[in-house]
Amino acid sequence: MPDHERRFRELFDSQFRPLLGYALRRVGSPDDAADVVAESMLVAWRRIDEVPVDDSARLWLYGVARRVVANHRRGELRRDRLAGRLRQHLVEAMPDHSDLTGSTAVIQQGLDSLSDDDRDLLMLTAWDGLEPREAAVVLGVPARTVRTRLHRARTRLRTAIGDAFGDSGHEREDQPKRPAQEEQ
């Protein structure tokens, strides 16, 4: 097996799920997430020599996916036949989030109200679990810039969610629990 193929197989194996998660968190629908994953992985295959060989491969892939999603928001992500089977399976395998209410809904609405940049940054750190310096790599900005932006984004989110959580910021006890507890 050629070396570049071995590398790509390893990359795919280790990064498929993280990339799928990244895509689902951004585009919501399994259809679109499958396309984002397929397109991003294809870029990685085409440019396997440029994919970092260390842990930052994930950041590199997220950076690609971020641009793919940006294109998607432009309404241009057309259905890719590469993603066909994945799309079909994901449609049926998606968890039901219909009972996510309360604090989750308030936060999600708050995130929706933010600019793309603010939302991206908060999601990279809180949802994708990246350190600010790692988020900076994905966003292509200096780490010091990202820290300032993160502070501002949190402030804007606090403003957006208003007093929904009171001064304490703790989740209200009467909120229903998530159907699946996520790892923090």
Binding site: G21, P30, D80, L90, D116, T125, W127
Partner: protein, 369 residues
């Protein structure tokens, strides 16, 4: 609330946490994708480059800009990428190449709805929602065989797709995975019998209809409940071409609007001599956002080309002129308008900064193909 508390709240609102994603069942689709990708053209591994090492050490940890792939792609790869990386090119081909053969005269005056335009439109579903609160808000794709129209009321959306008839088996298989029994229910609409499926949340519904003629119909929306969905889609009706086109809001550019819209969009945009407007006059129907993206992308690509040629020739004056043109795009009214809808403008503005930093702006995925 301190930062940690806020971060915990945000984390809890994550609809697809790591655990959820890990548990998603893909039934082999994952490995199919891997093999399919590997079976496409070989990676762009240049001679002398050692696999496993970055092509440029300075880029080792750099995230690729909009897609360096396109600029360095070899012809074979490029063909594939044009298919896969879709974007504007796909729309352009779909909207122009098929219906305006080489040699036709696209700059000839177009009647309100020209014959070729009508021929395509006549072949599509031409659906409207018989409810004044619901408007057509976007048309991201429009050909006789494959199109998408989004109706909207506030933040609610109803998406209608028509797809080639040959896609039906694949679409159906997606809903009827043997490992996950279909939750479809019968639905009759527009004289067709189909099945209504639930996707993801309980109110995210898609009605799939068997092909009639050259295309199948798929209607997706989340309007709160099954009852609300059924009530809404019952208001869909087929109208004649003139009525359908007449229902387009200003946010949709029709072919008959194109000359005026191009003039408006380029009013404050520096355009290189010889700029060719012809391709945009061929567009049949497209949302204003995407139309603006096509036009400004073409303008920008002219400046990118000048910048690159000048850089090679060491012509700093020409480089500066191109850089200033793109950096000035922050003032283009069309980009400011588009910035409220999507991220195309932001990308172009960043390109101006890249040029100022002596970085080739063409290394941006999806641009200037």
């Amino acid at each position: 609330m301190n930062d940690d508390e806020l971060d915990r709240l945000i984390a809890r609102a994550n609809p697809y946490g790591d655990a959820t994603v890990r548990q998603l069942r893909t039934d082999g689709a994952e490995s199919d994708l891997l093999e399919d990708i590997i079976s496409t053209e070989a990676p762009d591994t240049g001679p002398g480059r050692v696999s496993g090492e970055p092509s440029d050490p300075r880029r080792k940890h750099a995230v690729p800009t909009f897609a360096d792939a396109s600029a360095r792609r070899r012809p074979k790869a490029r063909r594939r990428a044009v298919i896969l990386l879709a974007a504007a090119a796909t729309v352009a081909v779909a909207l122009t190449g098929v219906f305006f053969p080489e040699g036709s005269n696209p700059v000839a005056p177009v009647s309100a709805y020209g014959a070729e335009f009508r021929a395509v439109t006549d072949a599509t579903p031409r659906l409207v929602l018989d409810d004044p609160a619901w408007k057509i808000v976007d048309i991201p794709q429009f050909t006789a065989d494959d199109g998408e129209i989004r109706f909207g009321r506030g933040k609610e959306r109803l998406q209608v797709n028509w797809r080639p008839a040959g896609h039906y088996a694949g679409r159906l298989a997606g809903f009827k995975d043997p490992g996950a029994p279909a939750r479809g229910s019968a639905i009759e609409l527009l004289g067709q019998k189909g099945t209504l499926y639930q996707i993801g949340t309980s109110a995210d519904l898609t009605a799939l209809f068997p092909p009639q003629g050259r295309y199948l119909l798929e209607i997706r929306g989340d309007v709160g409940s099954v009852a609300a969905y059924r009530s809404l889609v019952a208001k869909l009706k087929t109208v004649d071409t003139d009525t359908w086109l007449g229902a387009m809001p200003d946010t949709i550019v029709k072919q008959s609007d194109a000359p005026r819209v191009i003039d408006e969009m380029l009013a404050d945009v520096p355009v290189l001599p010889g700029f060719d407007r012809t391709p945009f006059l061929k567009v049949l129907v497209l949302s204003r956002y995407q139309f603006g993206a096509k036009v400004t992308e073409a303008v920008a690509c002219g400046w990118f080309e000048q910048w690159a040629v000048a850089k090679k020739a060491g012509d700093k004056a020409k480089m500066k002129q191109a850089t200033e043109a793109i950096q000035g795009s922050r003032n283009w009214k069309v980009l400011q308008e588009m910035d409220k809808t999507g991220r195309f403008s932001e990308g172009l503005w960043q390109d101006g900064d890249r040029m100022a930093g002596n970085e080739d702006p063409r290394e941006r995925n999806g641009m200037c193909r």
